[in-house]
Symmetry: C2
Subunit: 453 residues, 2 copies
């Protein structure tokens, strides 16, 4: 399967590096590390246990330090910064792009931030301060204020001359932005157009005013959605007066798109996208303990429900043997519906407009599977315990629980969302609480009614 061959390159490097580290010869390690791109070094550092991580971090070319810091998760970054002295940090980060620096700055010690600001020229300092003045997770934070602007009332050859005078363009420049006298964003012209049109062509005529600008307050998630839906590579950012403030490029958005998609898998286990594979044990244990504690509370709730039926359990021990089946199948079926719903909600594909249709579909699927597996489970149980009424009871409970699971799979994430609770995080816990409780209740309840009359 595809999964199995993924990234063999990285894990191969990891093994080479690990062998070299074990042998204690740091020369080869250093050579190996410095053939990698900063992002790959970051990836590698994330995969190393703390002791080795610090050693390898010390061997990274100081020129790459800043870029590596940009490319690792928050927790790992913290551990890397802890191994540097203030001067090293300043040297590492002072040459970063403004948007990357803004991304880092919150994790830096106060003294270092001041030193970095002091070491910057006034223009860049003002730009950084401007970017930092926008809240995290907004377009303002993602943008790079370093853009090339031109005026509309000019011609291709004037722009070409200006660019030749200017020299190097900012990285990933694919468009120049056309602005008014008051620096308001009017549209853009692509470098390709400048290259393919005659010298005398007025810029006005090439102006593409279809590319909308992001408001500086727009959420990072909405920015990511539009980039990915509209296949943009870059987009301008403006303030309330439509004054051009900067530019967002796709490379800064790709990480958000990936984090957002990963959020569902990690959130369901109570984990965070920024979790370090090698978090210090006490910290990891504490964080996971919260999740275990919440689940323990729900497990006790289920046990309490079972406890209501002690009488039935005492008389028919087969009930104790079979009861986890009903609960677990409900959990599995409900999780399937929940998983589709959480993704649909995250993509904006679920709302009051299609809720009824969705509920009807999921209930039909749940009932169909409920009846089918009820028959299977009922027959197996009846044969196993030589007890046909017992088979009928578990079959009935199964059908009930799978229908409830489908209903809960749709309604739990919607309700959580309405309560402003992230369904990717809390959905699974709430759902399995419902399917456990209903599973035990329906099975033991039916058994009491039917078998203990």
């Amino acid at each position: 399967m595809a999964e199995a061959v993924r990234h063999d390159k990285t894990s191969h490097q990891l093994r080479l590096l690990s062998d070299a580290l074990e042998s204690g010869r740091l020369g080869p390690v250093k050579r190996l590390v410095n053939t990698l791109s900063p992002a790959e070094i970051g990836n590698l550092l994330e995969s190393l246990p703390p002791g080795k991580r610090v050693i390898v971090w010390g061997l990274v070319d100081p020129d790459d330090d800043g870029e590596v810091l940009v490319h690792v998760g928050d927790e790992v970054r913290e551990s890397l910064l802890a191994a540097m002295d203030p001067d090293e940090i300043v040297a590492a980060v002072e040459d970063l792009d403004i948007d990357d620096l803004a991304d880092l700055v919150e994790d830096l010690p106060e003294a270092v931030i001041e030193q970095v600001l002091k070491s910057m020229d006034r223009d860049n300092r003002e730009r950084l301060e401007q970017v930092l003045s926008y809240p995290e997770d907004t377009a303002g934070r993602l943008m790079n204020p370093d853009v090339v602007t031109v005026r509309a009332d000019t011609t291709v050859d004037v722009v070409l001359r200006y660019l030749r005078l200017r020299g190097e363009l900012p990285e990933h420049t694919d468009y120049l932005y056309v602005v008014s006298r008051r620096h308001q964003y009017l549209g853009r012209i692509s470098l390709a157009q400048l290259l393919t049109h005659e010298a005398g062509t007025p810029i006005n005529q090439l102006l593409d005013d279809e590319q909308p600008a992001f408001d500086v307050d727009e959420s990072a998630n909405e920015v990511a959605r539009q980039f990915s839906d509209r296949d943009w590579l870059s987009a301008p950012v403006v303030d309330d007066n439509h004054v051009l403030l900067g530019r967002i490029t796709i490379d800064d958005v790709v990480d958000i798109i990936r984090d957002r998609a990963e959020h569902q898998a990690l959130g369901a286990a109570g984990l965070d996208e920024d979790e370090d594979l090698f978090s210090p044990v006490p910290r990891a244990a504490r964080r996971r303990a919260i999740w275990l504690g919440i689940n323990l509370a729900t497990a006790f709730l289920a046990s309490w429900v079972i406890g209501r039926f002690e009488g039935a359990l005492e008389r028919i021990v087969a009930l104790a043997v079979l009861m986890p089946i009903v609960a677990s199948m409900g959990g599995v079926a409900g999780t399937q519906t929940l998983t589709l719903m959480v993704r649909g909600l995250a993509m904006g594909q679920v709302g009051s407009g299609n809720l009824r249709a969705l509920l009807a579909k999921e209930l039909s699927v749940g009932l169909l599977n409920g009846v089918a597996w009820a028959i299977v489970v009922g027959v197996v149980a009846a044969i196993w315990f030589q007890d046909i009424p017992l088979g009928a009871v578990i079959a009935g409970a199964m059908a009930i629980n799978l229908a409830v699971a489908a209903f809960a799979g749709v309604m739990v994430p919607l309700t959580l969302r309405r309560m402003n609770i992230d369904p990717a995080l809390a959905g699974g816990v709430v759902l399995t609480t419902v399917t456990d409780v209903i599973g035990f209740l329906s099975f033991l309840g039916l058994a009491t009614l039917v078998l203990l009359r």
Copy 2:
């Protein structure tokens, strides 16, 4: 929370559209739909139940049909194609870019493919046939053969003249590729460089030979990883003889990056990234039934284990009441470790190089939490049932199961991967089977040893 405000725009559109559809006035629906980009229309169609989906699909501007088809998941695409006649399909897809067309072609009816090929000019047909000759999920399939090449032994002004003669450049062109006489890839020059250097500058001198080319057989996953790790916007693709074949751009890779990240969450529930929110009920039921069947088998295994202890359960009913707690806590703790591991494996961050360190860390976390929660559960159980030995038994079982869960959380995904089974898909089932069996076994086994002596 951020999740709660995500994509309110899309779900707002969805409601507007739904209201308009209910009212039966299709004029406003049509106007609303055609203000959206093709990707947004695709997103909207995915969120509609089959009946409404067909109506809205009929209202989409035919010029957008092709792009919309590119932007929806496989299953939804099938349902849209089923609503079109062959001529419509041909008209919709014939103007697509080669790489997008190649992506669609497998879903098209045989007769339509022939007609499309016939309607293309010879150059494009040959290009399409070339792209289709590469296996799915390789660089060859992702690339667009439409690239602008220049020779190294020329100067900026010659290139500029050539570009002006050529006219429009392919979409998202940021670099021109420099090739040898035999069309071998030598390096690239950016449009920005052409614009900022004097007319007489030799291309040789501007040539950037640091951008590596992908082999045409490279896996799509490796392509995605490198794009995302190295912040590339485009990269060349070459054959075995280093002859330039085409170019991959980031917009085609973003979808792979997102799908890959989503794969973990959906796979864990036995779902597929391409699943239609509104799959026909029989199809959805059948697919999920497989998953439920697998889980039922493991649930029966757990029941069989419980059945071995009928004697103990008959004598102490509290065992039946408490036993789900031990199993469920093990499942939760193990899933946390598993989730981190599956992500680490997908990112190439887990391998033989750091396995021992990882296992040590996860076992420490598991033991720490195991002991902590064992005490809590033990005390609660002892008070609840007024039975101190019972509390001691459940505490012991809990500590054992959480340690086993940590061990299984690390080893299960590694073992599955070695067996070429996708851990994102099968990991959860295998893991919870282990934690259920060990949970029941340790609790009921300890109870038999300690309480029934």
